[in-house]
Amino acid sequence: MALSFKCDTGISRYLQLKAPHVEGFSLVNDENETPRDLLAKAKVLVIGAGGLGCEILKNLAMSGFNDIHVIDMDTIDLSNLNRQFLFRKDDVSKPKAEVAAAFIRRRSPHVSITSHFKRIQEMPEEFYLDFTLIICGLDSIEARRWINALVCGMVEEHGFKGFKPIIDGGTEGLRGNARVILPSINACLDCGLDLYSKKVTYPICTIANTPRLPEHCIEWASVLEWARIFPDKKLDGDDPDHINWVVEKAAARAADFNIPGINYSLAQGVVKNIIPAIASTNAIVAAACTNEALKVVTTCNPYLDNYMFYSGLEGVYMFSFPYARNPDCLVCGKKAGSLSLSANTTLEDLITALRESPVFQLRAPTLSLGQTNLYFQKPKELEELTRPNLAKSIGELFESGSTLTVTDPTLTTSLSVTVTFCS
């Protein structure tokens, strides 16, 4: 059910009054639709129902959007409550997407809101084809890359029907950014992948339950254990006794989970450089995202071209600029990468290079050359069969200038990587 707006209040003014900043403004488009029609029929997908997601859902509901979907695989943790304002203490351990949707539904009964307690990778392409645009409020670069690759692929395959703008927001302490990605038209997420190469935030649930990195163990020791053992003492990143204690505890935990790489300098780096998410920055970035969504959908004002940066560290700084497309982009450009390595490099080191290089940042690459399987991450049988190749040098496995086919969980399609041997 659509709401009736009084002409002289709020958003409805912008749906019918002339827009001075829109070039060649007309109240109806080629399809004879008004901004009001466009807003009424827009179907928006919100990925992530965390700190940004809660804000985004609220903003969409309060901006006149009335068909909203939200997808998130996480459940609510006690540590979320200081910023994820749609959740209460009684909601802890329930699915974020469902609780957030139910809250919005109670507040704004006229809005249709649908929740999906799922991983984004579990949904078929048809699901994504159905939306007008997608807004991401994620803390993981991997999920961002996956949806970006999917949407870039969709526009190639389906043309205009597959064209889904992505509006992406991210925050780090008192800083954040928002961007409008028009697949095939402006820079996609992978075009600026090196912007994301520094990972600095770790979800508390990962720290508490499923550590993978040495940083997770350090966080566990410095945040959870320290507070438990020394409830009245503040951890000082410059105090060697404190850091040594953290190193000791983190190393023990890392040993339990078979994670290598704990040392003093890493511990100090993590303890002193943690940049957590806070409510005010989330509000700014989420509102920037939904403000752009409103403009993109209704054309009531020009939308962001295409990157906005915010910092509250020194005064208030909000700046926008057009981030350039990368013609060599692995996702929306020529889809081919190259690596120059010594012929003595082992296949395992090649895989490490694909994981660590700022251009690739792959997670678990599978490699083949024509019909030859070089290394497969799964299934188990193929992994075992190809594992001996890991120790072989690439010079034994293929010639310089060979183009490998690479697949990876962060990408929806395969990638060509040409490997040349350097002396």
């Binding site: 707006f5 709020g10 003014r13 009054l17 309060m62 901006s63 006690l78 409550l81 503040k234 005064g315």
Partner: protein, 530 residues
């Protein structure tokens, strides 16, 4: 609730900041979406208490733009509705509503009404007319209470910070004049017995102090000359076991930064030389902990112990070194910082005794944070908002609006208020809600033309006629807004206002001084010092 919940905040603004937040009482004038969205971001991290002052009643538009009123709240008092909605977010926060008009409250001479504003930690004015902002600013200025005033016009928002002053508390290695513990430690290291691997892991401060000593430059009160610095770099080069050792390269690079006589930063000198640092209790309104600390720092600096040097911060940068050598160095700086901090604390204690204040008037945590950040102290001075809006103090700083490319936006905000004073309505708004159907592009265009004229004459009044012109499209967009609130822009501005509030309350990070205009059409902000 407790620890886990606030943990994220503590990592950004330390426990001392969190304590300041939990002890703060914020008074907010206004209860529309802008006020509610601002408060949301203060209630979530655990502000101590908030009071909302407004007599507005929930209308249909509120249910559409203000998330913290309910659809069924129409006709109820809006301040009470948002207090209820916001209080649910954090049971540790105390919220209350004063359902009176802000103008009436400010006109009242009842001491309790005066105190509501004067005893607040911070006051926020959200979407208030200029007359209310001026009266409020005057009261806040007299009581030395920081004020942040914000209003929204569709896609545009204005945030203005007005406080008598704001002191902001956010590496110093002392290599030319090493303190005794550092001197002794380095003297005990003998490069002659170290093999090349050990040498490659000597932290660069050790290398520099050794080289300074070899050239008899240590303890010098004067800065080394260019020739001496060159000799120093050359000597360091010859000390390296091989030409490309990273730690020796770091030592060479660090010569310029670290081989100079000690001097206190200008910003800190300015604070120490301020009359308030000599007589912190002269200000009659309220006892200011910052100036008590500054006064203690002043006496510390005059003491024999300090030799005119600020308390050591104790933090050392990352550098090429093995863990043992780095930790040893870290320990020495840390130890010296602790000794300095203990000395400084005795000055604070004396200051409090002399002022007849209890010993815990300033927490030891706060003393420690102040001491650790002594070299980063900064004092910001602001123009009172009532002078900006009523007087002619703008003329002297108006050029900053031009430099910031915000003269047009700013003039249009001010022109909207003049328009309202003449017509009893804001540009682009119909005379009464029943005339709503009459609103069309022509009405907006007429108001925009008048607004454009007023804004241009304002620029002329400020002496900017030849520097800036009002943008016609911008005037049209202002009239198009009808000074309405769009939820997104209110939420974004609420995010900015709350973040500024947190900076002011915690005395951490740097607040904007003093005007910020948000442009939601261009996704940009403009800032200028007024």
């Amino acid at each position: 609730m407790g620890l886990v919940l606030i943990d994220n905040n503590c990592r950004l603004w330390q426990e001392s900041g969190q304590t300041a937040l939990e002890n703060a009482r914020v008074c907010v004038l206004g209860s529309t979406a802008l006020a509610a969205e601002t408060l949301k971001n203060l209630v979530l991290p655990g502000i101590g208490e908030f009071v909302v002052v407004d007599d507005g009643v929930v209308g249909e538009q509120d249910t559409l733009t203000n998330f913290f009123v309910q659809v069924g709240d129409q006709g109820k008092l809006r301040a009470e509705c948002i207090v209820q909605g916001l209080s649910e977010l954090n049971p540790d926060v105390k919220g209350s509503a004063v359902t009176r008009s802000p103008a009436e409250l400010l006109a009242s001479t009842d001491p309790a009404d005066i105190q509501l504003v004067a005893s607040a930690t911070l006051v926020l004015a959200c979407g208030q007319p200029e007359s209310v902002v001026c009266a409020l600013s005057r009261r806040c200025w007299q009581a030395n209470v920081p004020l942040v005033a914000a209003d929204v016009a569709g896609f545009y928002a204005r945030v203005r910070t007005s406080i008598p002053e704001h002191a902001d508390t956010p590496s110093d290695l002392r290599l030319l004049t090493p303190f005794p513990a550092l001197r002794n430690y380095i003297d005990e290291i003998d490069f002659g017995v170290l093999d090349s691997t050990d040498l490659a892991h000597v932290p660069y401060p050790v290398i520099i102090v050794k080289a300074l000593k070899a050239l008899s430059l240590d303890g010098s009160a004067a800065a080394p000359t260019i020739q001496q610095k060159r000799a120093l770099r050359d000597l360091i080069g010859t000390m390296a076991p091989s030409p490309d050792e990273e730690n020796f390269a770091q030592a060479v690079d660090a010569v310029t930064q670290h081989c100079k006589p000690y001097s206190t930063p200008d910003a800190v000198d300015q604070i120490l030389n301020d009359p308030a640092a000599a007589a912190p209790l002269a200000a009659d309104t309220k006892v200011d902990r910052f100036w008590l600390l500054a006064s203690a720092l002043r006496t510390y600096m005059l003491s024999d112990y300090s030799q005119g040097m600020l308390p050591l911060n104790g933090s050392i940068p990352d550098m090429k070194a093995d863990t043992k050598g780095y930790v040893a160095l870290q320990r020495i700086y840390k130890q010296k910082a602790a000794e300095d901090a203990a000395q400084f604390a005795t000055h604070v204690a004396r200051e409090l005794t002399e002022a007849g204040l209890p010993a815990d008037f300033i927490s030891s945590d706060e003393v420690a944070v102040f001491c650790r950040n002594a070299c980063n102290l900064r004092l910001l001075r602001f123009t009172p908002l009532h002078d900006e809006l009523e007087g002619d103090s703008l003329c002297s700083t108006a050029k900053s609006l031009v430099a910031a490319e915000v003269a047009s936006h700013y003039a249009l905000f001010r022109a909207s208020a003049r328009f309202e004073a003449t017509h009893g309505r804001y540009p682009g708004v119909t005379a009464s809600p029943s005339d709503a159907e009459m609103l069309d592009d022509e009405v907006v265009a007429n108001d925009a033309a008048e607004l454009f004229g007023i804004a241009n004459s304002l620029l002329a009044e400020w002496g900017l006629a030849s520097d800036a012109k009002v943008d016609e499209d911008l005037a049209m967009e202002f009239a198009r807004s009808g000074r309405c609130e769009l939820h997104n822009i209110s939420s974004m501005t609420g995010g900015i206002v709350s973040q500024e509030a947190i900076k002011l309350i915690t005395h951490q990070y740097v607040p904007e001084n003093s005007l910020c205009v948000v442009d939601g059409v261009k996704a940009k902000s403009y800032v200028a010092k007024i």
